[in-house]
């Protein structure tokens, strides 16, 4: 895997518009993410966070604008087995699906293996290493549906990493986890990013965690605001969320945001 060069652009969006059923979801989005950054994406519900990720992944084709991922269109990138690892918001559609953890992580290789070929020893070896990276080797033969939410998240991150990605995209990886497990996931991603030279995009509602861990913060509510460095000011948060925002301080870092609506 090629290490990202400093200053190389991993993701570039120019004038991207997305409409869905007549509503504007993304409005003239321009965004450029350097390789190797750890980027948090913040925004209220329905602001277009997942849509932005799906545009980058090629799952949604914008009505207008240009998307370049590692210098290529997402569709083209996908055809080579992709260089983007992805953790969807709800990765386990059917909890009764009879596959083991090792099976699920191996699926991450299928695009790379290609049609008409079977997984080889190298593929299984990579699965083993990724399970180790995520400290879930002991779960390899358990059924995916039998695991806790935090364990499942680790499995799906391991699967995303089995692509051998240069970019890792996580859509609300901590949404159903308790506070401890949430922090674990952020820590883990931080470590993996350094180890594997990744550019990481995370959608999160946890403003405190974003401020603590990430290099850049993208605030999105149809349009976007990019903040190069935390701390994020109260004004920009309020303009993103469209309502008053209140910080609760625990030490130096804002931990929670409480919405207070005037209406």
């Amino acid at each position: 895997m090629k290490a990202p060069e400093i200053g190389e652009t991993a993701i570039k969006l120019e004038g991207v518009w997305v409409n869905f059923n007549g509503a504007v979801i993304l409005e003239d989005v321009n965004l450029s993410i350097e390789a190797g950054r750890y980027v948090g994406i913040l925004g209220p519900n329905g602001a277009g966070k997942s849509t932005l990720l799906k545009v980058i992944l090629g799952l949604i084709r914008p009505q207008r604008g240009r998307v370049q991922v590692l210098g290529q269109s997402p569709e083209k990138l996908r055809q080579h087995g992709s260089a983007v690892g992805y953790l969807p918001q709800r990765p386990l559609g059917n909890p009764r699906f009879p596959v083991t953890v090792a099976d699920v992580v191996l699926m991450g290789r299928y695009g790379r293996i290609g049609l008409f070929k079977r997984p080889r020893r190298e593929d299984r070896e990579l699965v083993r290493r990724r399970l180790e990276d995520l400290s879930i080797s002991h779960l390899a033969n358990r059924l995916i549906g039998d695991l806790s939410g935090g364990e499942q998240q680790r499995v799906f991150i391991a699967r995303a990493l089995c692509v051998d990605p240069r970019i890792l995209i996580l859509d609300e990886p901590t949404v159903s986890l308790d506070a401890c497990a949430q922090d674990d996931i952020f820590e883990l991603v931080h470590t993996l990013r350094e180890k594997l030279n990744l550019t990481v995009l995370i959608v999160s509602h946890d403003i405190g965690a974003v401020a603590r861990h990430m290099d850049d913060v993208v605030c999105i509510n149809r349009r976007i605001h990019v903040h190069q460095r935390p701390p994020i000011g109260r004004l920009s948060l309020e303009s993103t969320f469209g309502c008053a925002v209140e910080y609760l301080f625990h030490g130096e870092i804002p931990h929670r945001v409480v919405k207070t609506h005037d209406d």
Binding site: L57, S82, F97, P98, V99, I113, F116, L143
Partner: protein, 270 residues
């Protein structure tokens, strides 16, 4: 007495056909259940009625017109779901009722009251001839070959379609391919249990396997075993006690499902 039974040519053909068809249904059923496509199975099989009746009207082999109709409806359902705002189950409900209605009109126009419509609706495996047996064999080998070839992709698709797409698996092509396979299997299964009962063979074996198996591969085996066992057992039983064969096979499957549902909580808590 059993040796006498097997010496009869029509019964040999019926047994061979039952084994092939149920083998195929058992394998496919695993994915129909995991991909939650039970209602699509109902839709495709019922819409085949329109095609079968068209065959009677035009005086050509109802197999071909049936396949044509089933394929057309399968692809229309997929198209309606991905390209328009229509919900999948609504699309299925509309297309299968419309093509059954068309079938009735075709039958009326053909005035072919002497043809074996009842056989097509409820199956008449004992009437199967050598040519039909060959058709079944060809479809079975072809469909199994395709499933084996794309097994890992079909599993990935069934587990997480979006992720499969992101990873570069040709999801759209495989979705259409799976519908084509279903349409083919539905048509040859009509010989065994008839249009009305086809969906039972596409759904129940997989559901039984889900009750018993914890791993995907064992699920495929259990599903296939349940389908073949019920088909052969049901066929012999129906002959012995003079019951309709298609209905006996489906009832055996249903009983197996009920029985294994009782075992499920016990099996899944080791």
């Amino acid at each position: 007495m059993m040796t006498d039974l097997f010496a009869l040519g029509f019964l040999q053909r019926a047994l061979a056909a039952a084994i092939l068809v149920s083998l195929l249904c058992g394998v496919l059923s695993t994915f129909v259940v995991l991909r939650r496509m039970a209602f699509i199975g109902v839709g495709i099989s019922h819409s085949a009625f329109g095609g079968v009746a068209l065959g009677f009207l035009l005086g050509i082999d109802p197999l071909w017109t049936g396949i044509g109709f089933a394929l057309m409806v399968a692809l229309l359902i997929e198209y309606a779901q991905t390209r328009t705002a229509v919900e999948e189950d609504t699309a299925i409900g509309i297309f299968f009722a419309a093509s059954m209605a068309l079938g009735l009109v075709f039958l009326h126009l053909s005035r072919a009251y002497n043809v074996d419509v009842f056989g097509f609706l409820f199956g008449n495996i004992l009437a199967i001839d050598t040519r039909q047996l060959w058709q079944i064999l060809v479809v079975t080998v072809a469909v199994l070959a395709v499933i084996l070839t794309f097994f890992k992709e079909i599993v990935f698709l069934s587990f997480d379609e979006e992720m499969a797409w992101v990873n570069g698996v040709p999801v759209k092509a495989l979705r259409y391919l799976f519908l084509v396979l279903m349409a083919l299997v539905v048509i040859i299964t009509i010989y065994l249990v008839g249009i009305i009962l086809v969906s039972a063979l596409l759904v129940i074996p997989g559901a039984i396997a889900q009750n018993l198996a914890r791993q995907l591969k064992s699920m495929v085996w259990v599903s296939t075993g349940a389908a073949v066992g019920s088909a052969v057992g049901g066929l012999i039983l129906s002959y012995a006690i003079d019951f309709p064969s298609g209905a006996t096979i489906v009832l055996m499957l249903a009983l197996l499902y009920l029985g294994t549902s009782g075992l499920r909580p016990w099996l899944h808590h080791r």
